[in-house]
């Protein structure tokens, strides 16, 4: 770190929060029926981040791989919960397959990234492991949700077409190929768009944070480039896993599209 970061005093933070009060006032004045949303969201953000800050401070001080692992499992659980809730897709076994794909997909990419790219010492150094795992998990969660929902809705909407293909001797994978392709593409589109617009439309969040904390822009760029490859990799791996498991739940070994 070249220079220390400017710490924000409570007063400075309150000045920042003035913007929330400003938005709240607009919503109330214009009767947008948004006041409650703003209040709830701002409160949730404040509490969640404060708790996170203290938890991270504690974990950074303890430096225990067990705590890091527990935090990772905690992330998997909540990410899976968010995926199931957000997609609104309901069929038996969905929660199990989301947890499994997030754990395997995000876990393996995080480990690959930690051991292959960053090499922190110790390997579980929370200062590196936790933010990296968080970024990888967040993107995996979005990718999984998009793939899961798209595959399900494509299969549901194209039931007749899929059963026609099955009736002509297609395997379940052949019959669902179009749906698979669309679901995979849907998952991959956000990271691909982010990659192609990066540095032109905005400065990425991680880079902004590093630059603000005094890191050289070149180091920040190198981190950003490598994290983007990890995000691309994890989204692809998670889409692959979730679609594989989802396919197994929607079709059976008799190449039948399940109906109940």
């Amino acid at each position: 770190m070249e220079k220390g970061i400017i710490d924000l005093s409570l007063v400075q933070l309150l000045v920042a929060y003035f913007l929330v009060a400003f938005v709240f006032a607009i919503a109330a004045f214009k009767r947008l029926k948004l006041s409650k949303d703003i209040w709830v969201s701002a409160t949730r953000m404040t509490l969640q981040l404060l708790i996170l800050g203290f938890v991270l401070k504690f974990i950074f001080a303890i430096q225990s791989w067990i705590l890091v692992l527990l935090l990772f499992l905690w992330m998997v659980f909540w990410a899976a919960r968010a995926v199931v809730q957000r997609t609104g897709v309901k069929f038996a076994g969905i929660r199990r397959i989301v947890i499994l794909s997030l754990f395997v997909g995000s876990g393996s990419v995080t480990i690959y990234f930690v051991f292959g790219v960053v090499h922190p010492s110790p390997w579980f150094a929370p200062r590196y492991f936790i933010p990296l795992a968080g970024m990888i998990m967040g993107n995996s969660m979005n990718g999984s949700a998009l793939a899961l929902e798209r595959y399900y809705s494509e299969i549901k909407q194209n039931r007749l077409r899929i059963e026609t293909l099955l009736s002509l001797g297609a395997t379940a994978s052949q019959a669902a190929r179009d749906a698979y392709r669309k679901a995979f593409r849907a998952a991959m589109l956000p990271p691909l768009m982010a990659m192609s617009s990066m540095g032109i439309v905005s400065i990425p969040g991680m880079m902004t944070g590093q630059i603000l904390s005094g890191v050289s822009p070149i180091i920040a760029v190198k981190y950003q480039l490598s994290i983007m490859t990890a995000i691309l990799g994890t989204v692809a791996l998670n889409a692959l896993l979730i679609l594989h498991f989802e396919h197994k739940l929607l079709f059976n070994k008799y190449h039948q599209l399940k109906t109940d």
């Binding site: 007749l160 077409r161 009736s167 002509l168 001797g169 052949q174 008799y254 039948q256 109940d260």
Partner: protein, 249 residues
């Protein structure tokens, strides 16, 4: 049907349903269905709407899997076959035929492309189009531009090109105009009577019911009678009775 004839049928059966039931959740769709289909049979599944005829038809090629009981095909449990291969021998044409984007040729050669097999040559495709009263010149046309009746016949051509042992047809003449209906009926009768192809059909079309060699009467998910033929009056009486009975439940 006397006992001896029934025994002969069992020996040469193509399909044998043994106490087949199909349930969805707590709902029983098919209950204890037992009957046989012999090679060359033209079987029509009869009954009022919603009694499970389509579900019974879907059981023939594993689009539905029995909850209990078993279905034998050529003496072997249907589920022991490679199902995609089996479905090419026992081809089902769904009630609403699906044609795929692209040319009519692509639609006809699709089942071969799925198995990476050499597709029939244009001359063969044209011959089959002709058999189904479709113009030879259509091969390069877009399939989606065809009328409902033409799409139904295209689905038939696509199935027949596989030279299946059995054709399963779900209301093949529903929503067709009179001319298209007549053509489809002629084609199906020809396939059965001249080519000896086994047909299993859900239909309300009287000419098809009259031409059937086996009538399977269904009500409330059960097979209530299997007959080798019936007069028009008997068929009407059954349909009326079944409908009245349904109203009483």
């Amino acid at each position: 049907m006397n006992q001896k004839t029934e025994q002969n049928r069992k020996k040469q059966q193509l399909f044998q349903f043994d106490n087949v039931s199909l349930k969805k959740g707590n709902h029983t769709i098919i209950q204890d269905a037992s009957f046989t289909v012999a090679p060359g049979d033209f079987t029509v599944l009869l009954g009022p709407s919603g009694v499970g005829k389509t579900s019974l038809l879907r059981l023939f090629n594993a689009l539905e899997i029995p909850t209990t009981g078993k279905i034998l095909y050529k003496g072997k449990n249907l589920l022991d076959y490679s199902i995609p291969q089996f479905r090419r021998r026992v081809v089902m044409i769904l009630q609403k035929p699906v044609v795929f984007g692209g040319k009519i040729r692509d639609n006809l050669t699709l089942p071969f492309a799925l198995k990476r097999q050499k597709a029939p040559v244009d001359a063969t495709l044209k011959e089959f189009l002709g058999r189904c009263h479709l113009s030879h010149d259509l091969l390069n046309e877009s399939a989606e531009n065809l009328s409902g009746g033409e799409q139904q016949r295209l689905a038939l051509v696509r199935a027949l090109l596989l030279n299946p042992d059995v054709l399963l047809l779900d209301e093949p003449t529903a929503s067709l105009d009179v001319e298209s209906e007549k053509r489809v009926i002629d084609l199906l009768l020809n396939e059965n009577q001249e080519s000896g192809r086994t047909l299993v059909c859900v239909t309300h079309s009287l000419p098809l019911i009259q031409a059937a060699s086996r009538l399977v009467f269904m009500d409330q998910g059960k097979i209530v009678a299997v007959r080798s033929g019936a007069s028009n009056d008997e068929i009407r009486a059954f349909m009326k009775e079944a409908l009245d009975g349904k109203g009483n439940h």
